[in-house]
């Protein structure tokens, strides 16, 4: 307490601050202002997909499915009518028609993808074959016509449950967006349509679906944030004023809050990180934390002023800072450590950024508390209030003093009881932790009173469900889906899926074919089965297209009848419910499908959610462990005693375990919002224990190791400050408890719970344990300020080293929890888009060992025909090879030889040439035929891959992999004994490769450069391959690369290469 103000560097620093208060304040505000210039660039991202790393395979596959079948997250508008006829009355049906037309008109709605009774078609048999007619052709205008329609729907099992409820009381209009980024506006437009819809008696309209969630979430959360943040700020300001009975602490405190929150958001904007759903909690957290340091500093200042009323303000401020800089730094560092734990452990980008930026905000608050605050204190001429002085007296009758006094009394006299109590609750907590349920349901983000929540429930009650899971079926060849064996497999899969709990229905091309079969065979329900031959299936499609639009089945099957999609509807989106479905289907698929002729892959919203929730539990406990570890290390270093470090953890651990028990009792699940609480709780709670421990140690040394008298002095001073600190934080988080966003609400509740427990434990358990166990660090000699300063420097360095070490050792990329294997990396390499077709100029520069150069200019075309790849290369110069053309048809099966033709102008005809050895060199270059064919991709059928590690090549972070041929035959054929290659981590493009021959002599080295995006596709423009054996070098330079201009199929024929470019 009475640290002599001597001439150390630190005291000189604080003296400078108080001597130039105006300068310091202006500079601080200037820095803040400059950083704030980035703030307008902050963007919002409320998509559920934002929670997945952009290159997560599940997300990538979903994008592919969207491209193939056009399926995306729809808006679902439900019309419910519980009357006698249900929705089968002319007025309700007219309403469906009206809504469909209105929705169709919206610019962001894909007119091809609006589905409702008004758009769907009935398939009936006629004497001539099949008749495909719109259900609403014409719109039923009498009850008789409506009844007829009901019968038609009854006769078409596919539609029952999917767009019309089985009981006929509800029907859906489903609409898909073109551009998801403007979902909010579209949602508002749809709500406007619903508002002016001509409802008849009994009609109810609801708007739900993932599209609606997306649209609503943004504004929902904005409205929430706009309410919460000012509220939190106001409450805290009031608390400060109440505590100190002065305005200036509140003013300075608010400036520090502003600096911390706004600068953090600005840096976020400057780093191009979006504002996610969970980022809403960030300002509230920072408000609570930033103000804690100010409270402690002011409290101590007022204490000193009370004791030395005659000392000059400047001297008092300096003395305060010299006393308080250590605990303030400690608490800042430990809180940062807590949040960084979240950054390291989380695998979802929004969480990682949350942890990272909150840590940054805490840092800013700490810096401003140490630099700006002293200057502000001098400028505002802070003066202790009489009231405050009064509270300090032991035995004061003021409420807070009494409360603290009570705690002190308890601790001094019942220390052993307190320890026993907390021990029991700890055990209960551990037991509860093992019973925590991981669950997440996106609709539960909304309060139960919200219309979207009600709509979702209504739709899931009446119809098959708003939660969709897609299964994409792929067969080996074009038109393989005509084969009954494949269709029957799909049918069995659907039957199996529908037997699973929460699965209410499914839709696929099988259902349409069955209806067609029934229509063409008299209409009896017994004929509702698959056609018996592939020829028959083909005929049905043909008949259908004669009466209707063949693109009707775009969402179910592709143009070549090779890929199909089965959409499964679930009436619950909760992870616990869908987990069973996803895992059962995955097991079924791996047993029954995934052969050479047919395979299936899960996709869709439910699948995506399953993937990102399933690792949540693990990641949570990992985060807790890391945060605790970091905090222990920091505290141990700061107190120079690992035991002391452990003591600081005690209140925190107690609080976390209590929260686990509370969650189990209250039925709160571990989900997106709540899983973060532990890191936050650790970061906040440890502040109490550090202040307590630090203060008690100092007091104990001053009183000659008498813990009891130390305790007596502790409560009225530091204890009181801690009380206000606690009140500020708990009120800040308490504000979250009023949030309408349910996960945030839950988050607020449990953080308040944990912070309260931390506070109480710091006030009671920790002192009790110190009293009972009397650890050595309490009585260790007090150090001088110089050694303290040196010690701190050491500590800060070590902390940074530990943090850095953790950063390097722990896999900190978004794939952390998945820790990529070599095969997964190869899969990502092969998934890099190389464009459906490309035209490009290629100049081949061949240089021999003597430096003699031969240059060939060529122009090439390449196009994919499904899985087949055709490419043609025309030589343009020099003129003695001009006109030479090389045509290749690459077949995907490595066992099927490619077909190649060479047109030689000298003989004026096309020669059919053997594909030869894949390891033969391509037309005099150092690239083999296989190298040219793969174009930077990998061939897992030939090689085994291993991950060697990570390296930075020319500033590019990359994975280093090795590949070895699977057997000696492949090695001989391809000419390589092994290869090593480097893959750019950011875009999965191979940037460098080394090749060894079968005798393990370094054969050639390949370097790729000028890799940039053309038309959105990563393109390597320069390849340089050096053959070390021959000294020959081949340099390929690509230019004029064009992925957009279409290429005539005819270019890849023999007649085209004879004709020439």
């Amino acid at each position: 307490m009475n640290t002599p103000v001597n001439d150390t560097g630190l005291s000189r620093f604080f003296q400078t601050l108080v001597n130039w208060p105006k300068t310091v304040v202006v500079l601080s505000l200037l820095v803040m202002g400059l950083t704030l210039s980035f703030l307008p660039g902050l963007t919002k991202d409320t998509r559920a997909d934002a929670f997945l790393a952009p290159d997560n395979p599940a997300l990538l596959y979903k994008e592919k499915v969207k491209e193939e079948f056009g399926l995306s997250d729809p808006f679902v508008i439900a019309l419910v009518n519980e009357g006698e006829e249900g929705i089968f009355n002319p007025e309700s049906l007219a309403l469906v028609n009206w809504i469909t037309n209105e929705v169709d008109l919206l610019t962001n709605i894909n007119s091809d993808r609006v589905v409702s009774l008004a758009t769907e078609k009935n398939i009936v048999g006629t004497e001539f074959g099949m008749d495909v007619d719109d259900f609403f052709d014409p719109v039923p205008s009498t009850q008789a016509e409506a009844d007829f329609l009901r019968q038609a729907i009854d006769d078409f099992p596919l539609y029952k449950g999917s767009i019309v409820a089985k009981d006929g009381n509800a029907t859906l209009v489903v609409a898909e967006m073109i551009d998801e980024s403007v979902a909010e506006e579209t949602y508002a437009e749809i709500l406007a349509i619903v508002d002016r819809a001509p409802l008849s008696p009994g009609d109810e309209l609801h708007v739900a679906g993932e599209g609606a969630v997306l649209g609503f979430l943004g504004s929902y959360i904005d409205a929430d944030a706009q309410r919460l943040n000012p509220l939190a700020g106001l409450i805290i300001t009031l608390i400060i004023i109440f505590a100190f009975r002065r305005l200036s602490p509140a003013l300075s405190g608010n400036i520090i809050i502003a600096a911390s929150v706004l600068m953090t958001l600005s840096v976020m904007a400057a780093s191009n990180v979006a504002f996610f759903v969970i980022t809403n909690a960030l300002p509230v957290i920072l408000i609570g934390i930033s103000v804690a340091d100010a409270i402690h500093i002011y409290s101590h200042y007022f204490d000193l002023q009370t004791e030395q009323p005659l000392k000059s303000r400047k001297d008092l401020v300096v003395e305060t800072m010299l006393d308080m800089w250590r605990p303030v730094t400690l608490t800042t560092l430990t809180t940062m450590a807590g949040f960084l734990g979240l950054y390291f452990a989380a695998y979802m980008p929004p969480f990682k950024y949350f942890g990272l930026f909150t840590a940054f905000g805490v840092f800013v608050a700490g810096v401003y508390s140490l630099i700006f605050l002293p200057a502000a204190m001098v400028l505002t001429k802070a003066q202790v209030s009489q009231h405050f002085i009064g509270q300090r007296e032991v035995g004061s009758s003021e409420l807070f003093a009494r409360a603290i006094g009570g705690l002190g009394y308890l601790t001094r006299n019942y220390s052993k009881t307190i320890i026993a109590f907390f021990a029991v609750s700890a055990i209960a907590g551990v037991y509860s932790a093992s019973h925590l349920v991981v669950d997440e349901n996106r609709i539960n983000t909304f309060d139960t009173s919200e219309s979207i929540y009600i709509a979702d429930k209504a739709i899931n009650a009446h119809l098959d469900g708003t939660n969709t899971l897609d299964i994409v079926i792929e067969t080996a060849q074009v038109e393989d889906l005509f084969l009954p064996v494949n269709l029957e497999k799909m049918q069995s899969l659907q039957i199996y899926a529908e037997s699973l709990p929460y699965v209410q229905g499914s839709t696929s091309i099988v259902d349409y074919l069955k209806q067609m079969n029934r229509a063409l065979n008299g209409g009896d329900i017994s004929e509702y089965k698959l056609p018996i031959s592939d020829a028959l299936t083909a005929q049905y499609f043909l008949l259908y297209s004669a009466s209707s639009d063949p693109t009707d089945f775009e969402e179910e099957i592709d143009y070549d009848y090779q890929k199909a999609n089965i959409r499964i509807n679930l009436n619950s989106g909760s992870y616990q419910h869908t987990k069973g479905v996803v895992e059962s289907l995955a097991a079924y698929i791996s047993d029954e499908f995934n052969t050479e002729s047919i395979n299936a892959t899960l996709s869709g919203r439910v699948n995506l959610n399953y993937h990102w929730i399933k690792d949540l539990g693990e990641s949570h406990f990992l985060g807790v462990s890391i945060a605790l570890f970091l905090v222990w290390v920091v505290s141990a270093l700061l107190f120079q005693s690992s035991l002391a470090g452990l003591f600081t953890l005690i209140p925190v651990l107690a609080s976390i375990l209590l929260v686990y028990s509370a969650m189990v009792v209250l039925g709160i699940n571990l989900g997106i919002g709540t899983s973060m609480f532990a890191s936050v709780a650790i970061g906040l709670g440890v502040d109490f224990s550090i202040h307590t421990l630090d203060r008690l140690r100092t007091l104990s040394r001053n009183t000659g190791s008498d813990i009891n008298s130390a305790l007596e002095r502790f409560y009225p001073s530091t204890g009181r400050a801690l009380l206000f600190n606690f009140l500020a934080i708990s009120c800040g988080f308490g504000v979250l408890m009023s949030s309408k966003v349910v996960p945030l609400n839950n988050f607020g509740t449990i953080v308040v719970l944990s912070v309260t427990t931390s506070f109480l434990a710091s006030m009671t358990l920790l002192p009790a344990m110190l009293k009972v166990f009397k650890p050595d660090f309490l009585s260790a000699k007090q150090q001088s300020a110089t050694t303290q300063g040196a010690g701190l420097a050491r500590v800060v360095t070590t902390v940074l080293a530990v943090v850095l070490g953790a950063y390097l050792l722990l896999p900190n990329s978004a794939q952390a929890a998945e820790s990529l294997s070599a095969d997964e990396i190869v899969e990502r390499i092969n998934n890099v888009d190389d464009g459906e077709h490309v035209t490009r100029r290629l100049v081949m520069n061949l240089t021999d060992r003597r430096g003699r150069e031969r240059i060939r200019e060529t122009f090439g075309y390449r196009k994919y025909f499904n899985e087949e790849k055709k490419s043609v290369l025309f030589y343009e110069s020099p003129s003695n090879v001009k006109g030479t053309a090389f045509l290749t048809w690459d077949y995907p099966d490595t066992k099927v030889d490619d077909d190649q033709w060479l047109y030689l102008p000298a003989i004026r005809r096309v020669r059919r040439i053997s594909a030869g050895d894949r390891g033969d060199y391509f037309l005099g270059t150092d690239f083999t035929f296989e190298d040219m064919k793969l174009e930077g991709r990998m061939e897992p059928a030939d090689y085994d891959y291993a991950l060697l590690g990570e390296e930075t090549i020319d500033g590019v972070a990359s994975y280093k992999l090795a590949s070895t041929p699977k057997n000696t035959e492949v090695a001989k054929e391809l000419g390589y004994g092994r290869t090593e290659f480097w893959v750019d981590k950011s875009n999965w493009v191979v940037i460098k490769a080394d090749y060894w021959d079968t005798k393990d002599v370094l054969l050639k080295s390949l370097v790729m450069s000028d890799i940039r995006k053309i038309d959105g596709i990563w393109t390597r423009h320069e390849l340089e391959l050096s053959n070390h054996k021959t000294g020959h070098r081949s340099q390929f330079i690509f230019s004029d690369v064009d992925y957009l201009s279409p290429i005539d199929d005819d270019v890849f024929t023999q007649r085209a290469i004879v004709r020439g470019l």
């Binding site: 003129s879 030889d897 077909d899 050895d917």
Partner: protein, 434 residues
């Protein structure tokens, strides 16, 4: 040109070539001409007879090429050739012996109405055979240097209306009308490669004067035009084609007539129908190719004195079977078996009923295909005569290629090949392209 000593001319050409090669021609890109391009080659060849070391030819050829894109779907191509030979051993067309200029090819490529047209003076090659012509009979050949030059150089382009009809991705039909009555250009009598073989030149009873009558050459542009059709397809991995050509054979038939004054030889061009096809496919490292043809009216010489014109007509069935093997790295090995069988033979023919020839090609690449060594043997199995052509070609830089070769004839001097035994030679060549 022929004033300059030979050696200094070689040196001059070499120096010019070296100077020009040092220019970075990559910058002079054909893309500079937005409408097409201008390119060409300059070729220098020096042939020395192995027999006596005399120069058989010292020939410089300049072949410029111009391509102009008239519209997006039409392009005009023009190729000219200027040849100058210091020697007069080989002769050129007409009476000139040292200089020859020709508009080689001049055609319009057009994409009209979904069909691909090529109209103008052009070369069209049918079939799958290398060197031996069964279906490759659309364009006639120049024989001033026998079969030694590249066929692209010895083939005579004709004015043809050529239209290709794409039927599907795998099927194409082609129709030709050739209103050009240009036929084979034989080596002038007295030149190195003028025909002496009795297969071509009828045996004359000695003592009687021989008179060459005026050639009976078809002259009616359309009535005497050749016409052809081809259907080609890629089916089940096989490249197949079905060909039909109704044409005048490129070699005149010498009809002999014995008169009071002596023997009159009248060269006459005869028409025939040619029906045939070709197939090729690849099996692992081996390419199999084959060509068959049946000519309805072929005319051959007979020494039967009872025959009143010394010529008999017969149908001819011919085929070739070829195998290309590329299994060894940098090697290309190819063998062909060719047979021509007459359907109506007669006595005392100058050829056998069944004539069989074989070819064998060995090619090896070195140094990233900058050096190519090749050996081609063509042998007639009936008469055991043939020719061995070997060469080494070195691509010294992007634009310069150096060649060293030898063409050796062997066998009976009555044979088609053996007759030129004395003309066996070694050649030195330089080609410069721009």
């Amino acid at each position: 040109m022929y004033f300059l000593p030979r050696l200094s001319l070689i040196l001059l050409v070499t120096v010019i070539a070296l100077l020009l090669s040092s220019v970075s021609w990559a910058q002079f890109s054909l893309r500079d001409f937005s409408n097409g391009g201008f390119s060409g080659t300059v070729d220098q060849q020096w042939a020395l007879r192995t027999d006596d070391g005399a120069t058989q030819k010292f020939q410089t050829t300049f072949e410029p090429r111009m391509e102009v894109d008239i519209t997006d779907s039409t392009r005009l191509t023009a190729i000219a050739r200027v040849r100058a030979d210091t020697e007069s051993n080989l002769g050129f067309a007409g009476s000139r012996t040292h200089l020859d200029t020709e508009l080689r090819e001049f055609y319009l490529d057009a994409d009209w109405g979904g069909l691909y047209w090529r109209l103008g003076k052009q070369q069209i090659v049918w079939g799958q055979a290398d060197g031996l012509r069964i279906l490759d009979v659309i364009n006639p050949q120049e024989f001033r240097e026998f079969i030694l030059p590249k066929f692209e150089d010895s083939r005579i382009p004709l004015w043809i209306a050529n239209v290709e009809i794409p039927i599907s991705d795998d099927w194409t039909a082609q129709l030709l009308i050739i209103p050009d009555q240009t036929y084979a250009d034989l080596a002038r009598p007295g030149t190195s490669f003028s025909m002496r073989s009795p297969q071509v030149i009828p045996e004359m009873p000695s003592g009687l004067p021989v008179k060459f009558e005026q050639e009976k050459r078809p002259g009616r542009t359309f009535k005497d035009a050749d016409a052809g059709a081809r259907l080609s397809a890629f089916v089940g991995g096989w490249d197949v084609s079905l060909n039909y050509l109704y044409h005048y054979q490129d070699h005149a038939v010498l009809f002999r007539q014995v008169t009071e004054t002596g023997i009159e030889l009248t060269p006459s061009y005869e028409r025939t129908h040619l029906v045939g096809g070709s197939f090729s496919n690849v099996f692992g490292d081996t390419t199999f190719r084959s060509e068959v043809g049946y000519s309805s009216d072929r005319f051959f010489l007979t020494n039967d004195n009872a025959d009143n014109d010394g010529v008999f007509s017969t149908g001819e069935f011919s085929y070739v079977l070829g195998i290309d093997y590329q299994g060894w790295r940098d090697w290309f090995v190819s063998g062909q078996l060719f047979q021509s069988i007459l359907s109506d033979p007669t006595h005392d023919m100058t050829r056998d009923k069944s004539e069989t020839s074989a070819t064998f090609l060995l090619r090896r690449y070195f140094m990233n295909e900058s050096l190519k060594a090749e050996s081609l043997l063509i042998q007639n199995l009936n008469r055991s005569d043939g020719v061995l052509q070997t060469s080494m070609e070195y691509e010294w830089s992007t634009n310069i290629t150096l060649t060293l070769g030898a063409d050796i004839f062997f066998g009976s001097c009555a044979g088609l090949f053996g007759q030129f035994e004395e003309e066996s030679r070694i050649t030195f060549g330089t080609e410069f392209s721009f």
